[in-house]
């Protein structure tokens, strides 16, 4: 009995590890080798109205540091709004040929936010950001890469253990959460993990010194 429990645990750990290590196919990515990426405001499937811009505001940095030219997200957002596309949903419908002619991006990053926000459980809270992303080649419409990330940060992870510590942290976090958006910090982490994790994220772009020497 005990041995089988250990065995099942072992199998679960293996399944988890191999789940993480599933190799991505970068053939199309290498073939098209984009230099520039247009990031459109993410679709919001969460219940928090802050999700779209909480995520959009933290995507430029990891993407640029990976070596890509990233079009200025707020300028693009404003530009598209002025041209009759008031929502992220409408922006995601722009034909690639138009993106090519007007912006001349090599690739478009389409994102959606599945979950964004902080949940309160007795004596603790959990801040969750869950994202989906697809990188599409503008000229051909080919999918270059897709990814998914689920980041959860528990308030009790940030304080010492013990019941008093948990009580204090739950109180502190409820006070803090009323005036700030904790998911914003977690969104930065989620974007970094999504785009830069070796073997799962993007290949390096031309402005990164590691360009062309990816292990993937």
């Amino acid at each position: 009995m005990r041995r089988s429990v250990v065995f099942i645990g072992y199998v679960l750990v293996l399944a988890f590890l191999s789940g993480c290590a599933t190799p991505k196919d970068y053939t199309a990515f290498r073939q098209h080798a984009p230099r520039s990426v247009l990031v459109l405001p993410p679709l919001n499937e969460s219940l928090d109205v802050k999700a779209t811009y909480g995520v959009l505001s933290t995507v430029t940095r990891p993407l640029s540091e990976m070596g890509y030219y990233v079009f200025p997200v707020a300028v693009i957002d404003q530009f598209l709004k002025e041209n009759g596309l008031p929502t992220a949903g409408e922006m995601h419908q722009i034909p690639l040929s138009k993106i090519h002619d007007i912006i001349d991006a090599d690739a478009v990053l389409y994102m959606s936010v599945e979950e964004y926000g902080t949940k309160y459980i007795i004596l603790d809270s959990s801040t969750i950001v869950r994202l989906n992303a697809r990188l599409v080649d503008v000229e051909t419409g080919n999918l270059l890469w897709d990814g998914h990330v689920d980041v959860r940060v528990s308030a009790s992870q940030n304080y010492g253990g013990g019941l008093i510590g948990m009580l204090v942290s739950a109180t502190v976090n409820q006070v803090v959460a009323s005036s700030t958006d904790q998911a914003h910090g977690v969104a930065a982490q989620a974007n970094t993990q999504l785009l830069t994790t070796s073997g799962q994220g993007l290949l390096y772009g031309p402005y990164n010194p590691n360009f062309g020497i990816d292990g993937q």
């Binding site: 230099r35 520039s36 802050k50 779209t52 811009y53 909480g54 959009l56 505001s57 933290t58 430029t60 940095r61 990891p62 640029s64 540091e65 070596g67 890509y68 030219y69 990233v70 079009f71 200025p72 997200v73 707020a74 300028v75 404003q78 007007i102 912006i103 001349d104 991006a105 090599d106 801040t127 940060v153 308030a155 992870q157 940030n158 304080y159 942290s169 502190v172 976090n173 803090v176 959460a177 700030t180 958006d181 904790q182 914003h184 910090g185 977690v186 969104a187 930065a188 982490q189 970094t192 993990q193 830069t196 994790t197 070796s198 402005y207 990164n208 010194p209 590691n210």
Partner: protein
Amino acid sequence: MKSAILYAGLAATLVLSGCAGSKSIYYWGHYEENLYDMYIAPDNATVEAQVEEMEADFENARAAGKPLHPGFQAHLGFLYFQLGKFDLARRSFESEKAAFPESAVLMDRFIKKLEG
């Protein structure tokens, strides 16, 4: 400043980017903070306030010896445009184009708009 979770997130970001074995290429300054505030807390990110911070970031980047990140000059140019400072706007759009030729089509479009 904000919350423990924000710091934890930033710390994890640093650790993760550390794992990638590369130091940051660009100087980032207030960019992400301003982007967020523009939409979520617009009182903290008026056009004037953003310009002031970005002009300071421009100097800080130079002092740190790091290049300005993609979109910095385009964003600043867009702010100058909103303030009616068209000469400065044009100069910023030209700088973005010079640093990142990938932006040329869009920057030329904005420059044309300034003239139009």
